[in-house]
């Protein structure tokens, strides 16, 4: 059982399991969307008077904070007890592209160690990728009113046109970074 779960999941299985999460949140009376938690954290820390956008009682969203805490715990459980024995099996074409940028093929773990370290964060490239990148995630998801979970999965499932427009935006931005910014940063 544990061994079956520990192997990387087929994408079809993962897709079905995400729908299960969406279903559980719906029958619990909520809607699936992670980036709303950023707004709740801001309201909690900076206070509801800091801007009209944060003027709500964050305690009304304590369910979302619990959900987010759960995702952290779930990540810990999966990483500690259910980790895959083999590297992430990305395509050879991607390995070739990354090698050309000077990034090694996956060996162990979910992220390239040479990038996701505090040493790399202190470089200009690391600062741009992680600090500006993180800022763009927080700013952009809230401007768009959702992220991958709220727009790409829940919104599209609920046939929302604004979500389709948002997903097109996600790809405009993502393709720009991948094909124009990465070659510049890793030149």
């Amino acid at each position: 059982m544990i061994e079956t779960i520990s192997n990387p999941w087929h994408w079809g299985v993962s897709g079905v399991m995400i729908v299960l999460v969406m279903f559980l949140l719906l029958i619990a009376g909520r809607a699936f969307g992670v980036s709303s938690s950023f707004k709740v954290v801001c309201s909690m820390i900076a206070g509801r008077k800091s801007a009209s956008y944060f003027d709500f009682d964050w305690k009304d969203f304590s369910w979302l904070l619990l959900f987010v805490m759960g995702t952290i715990i779930g990540g810990y459980i999966a990483g500690e007890f259910l980790a895959s024995p083999e590297p992430v099996q990305i395509s050879q074409a991607t390995i070739n592209d990354l090698t050309a940028l000077g990034i090694a093929a996956p060996s162990e773990g979910l992220l390239p160690k040479e990038l996701f370290s505090f040493e790399y964060l202190m470089t200009v490239q690391g600062f741009i990728l992680f600090v500006l990148g993180g800022f763009a995630i927080g700013f952009g998801t809230r401007w768009a009113g959702g992220c991958t979970s709220g727009h790409a999965i829940t919104g599209l499932s609920n046939l929302q046109l604004p979500s389709l427009v948002a997903v097109i935006g996600f790809f405009i931005g993502g393709l720009f970074t991948t094909h124009l910014i990465y070659p510049l940063l890793f030149a």
Partner: protein
């Protein structure tokens, strides 16, 4: 007690995100280079099955565990915000290789530098909240 269920659903989601490898920077690189079906398969199955589920739940008029109507709230029709905000998020998604859910999940997986990205995201949301009246929506 009921609140605890959200913690449990979150734990399930964290495990799913890790085992699906949707939290992997490598998978996001692969997706934005169109070199594998992996991420498109995950999102595609979730959306097709999700749409069927939404249609069925609406048709059968299913209620929440408390007997209330389900939360089918429509997204606001602020198309400029969707497009511009979506594009800004997309830039960050490819830079960090993570969207909001995976940021939390990766922190749990023990990648501490993710905390810097997460705090930057909170600051991004805070700045958005401060200047949103000046932005097109």
């Amino acid at each position: 007690m009921k609140k605890l269920s959200f913690l449990l659903i979150g734990i399930l989601f964290g495990i799913i995100m890790t085992k699906s490898e949707a939290v992997s920077w490598y998978r996001i690189q692969e997706m934005f280079r169109f070199q594998s079906i992996h991420m498109y398969g995950i999102i595609g199955v979730a959306v097709i099955l999700g749409a069927a589920m939404y249609a069925l739940l609406k048709k059968m008029d299913v209620k929440t565990v408390d007997g209330l109507p389900l939360n089918f709230k429509a997204k606001p029709e602020t198309y400029k915000a969707s497009l511009f905000g979506g594009t800004v998020f997309g830039l960050g998604w490819a830079m960090t290789g993570a969207c909001p859910g995976p940021l939390y999940v990766l922190l749990g997986n023990g990648y501490l530098v993710i905390l810097v990205i997460l705090i930057s995201a909170f600051i991004g949301t805070f700045v958005y909240g401060k200047i949103r009246h000046k932005l097109p929506h």
